[in-house]
Symmetry: C2
Amino acid sequence: MLVGYGTYMDLVPDALKQGKDHIVTGMKKELDRVNAAVDAACEGRDTVVISSGDSGIYGMSGLVLEVLEKRELLDDVTLNVIPGIPALAAGAALLGAPLMHDFAVISMSDLLTPWERIESRVSHAAAADFSLVIYNPRSKRRDWQLPKALELVREHRSPETPIGIVTSAFREKQQIQVTTLGEVKPEDIGMLSIVFIGNSQTRKVGNRILTPRGYADKYAMGK
Amino acid sequence: MLVGYGTYMDLVPDALKQGKDHIVTGMKKELDRVNAAVDAACEGRDTVVISSGDSGIYGMSGLVLEVLEKRELLDDVTLNVIPGIPALAAGAALLGAPLMHDFAVISMSDLLTPWERIESRVSHAAAADFSLVIYNPRSKRRDWQLPKALELVREHRSPETPIGIVTSAFREKQQIQVTTLGEVKPEDIGMLSIVFIGNSQTRKVGNRILTPRGYADKYAMGK
């Protein structure tokens, strides 16, 4: 039994889907979907909940675990979480090497998280010179959070700080944009994008972004 | 041409290695290895630099880009970075769902980074209630950094905060340990481990770790 949100189910190769039952539900029906999957598992069926990227990073694995706990099925249903390539790794690969040093990952979605907490995380991450990865940067209804976050980062980082925006990494409508903290236009960023903001050492290398790890100094490679 | 550190080269399936030349060098010979790979690419050979996990997270992709820049070969050598499953995703999958919300990733290695910067990142990340992922937590020669970092986290987080330690995820000598900030013993942690520290909401669920994303409140699932 395969259970998933339509958009992600479409990404599963047909060969893997053939001969299996499906439960497909729409956006924001996460809880219905997980309950249906758990029901199927309780009937003794091998059941897979599909998640895009890595299911452990803003994906479905947490909700599955939470539902098993709530329904007191932790000892009865065997749960295996299969890791995947998270969007932060896919996007970074397309940009060059923006995450070679310590980084922080923050979702701009305040649907399930108070904005004050998100704001505090952006400020602390910027102050500690982390590279930042911004998930869910912007949607039609959530349009002011990303500009506000960029404003907070500007208090700690120069306008030349490289920014990479990757949309639909390794998928059909893939887009890659390299810009700077001074020139980024939040209105060009959509709900399928993730945004990479460099640390104080990050620089453009050709049309790529590099956050050096310090080998240059250590091995006297020069700049 | 395959270029890699011996330990990681051994993980490449034989079928992929057959019929290809190899350059294998020891630990800490990263720069020699990358230069040899670039030399081979300049001779017109398809060349692969092997990195474990995801090459963009404390891996080899940054150094390759840096060497191409330094040798002024950015326009002459085509570089493709192939994303992989980073240790943070592999480890999280084995622990349950510890990274379902915002998190920060920090290496304890002060070989290439001043300790003051690492310390500042740990403190800021703890203050902003990020979950933490600690890479390179401890080696024979670097034994005081992890205890010091745990001490900094304790200023912001309760002793009950779940900690997960994963060693050699999905490999032969895989080990998984779930403990707490109050009970963790740094001397049990080695150079092949990565350490997950929960945020203020993280809890144990059975023998797993869950950082809830907030669905419980939103959908009135209860606890």
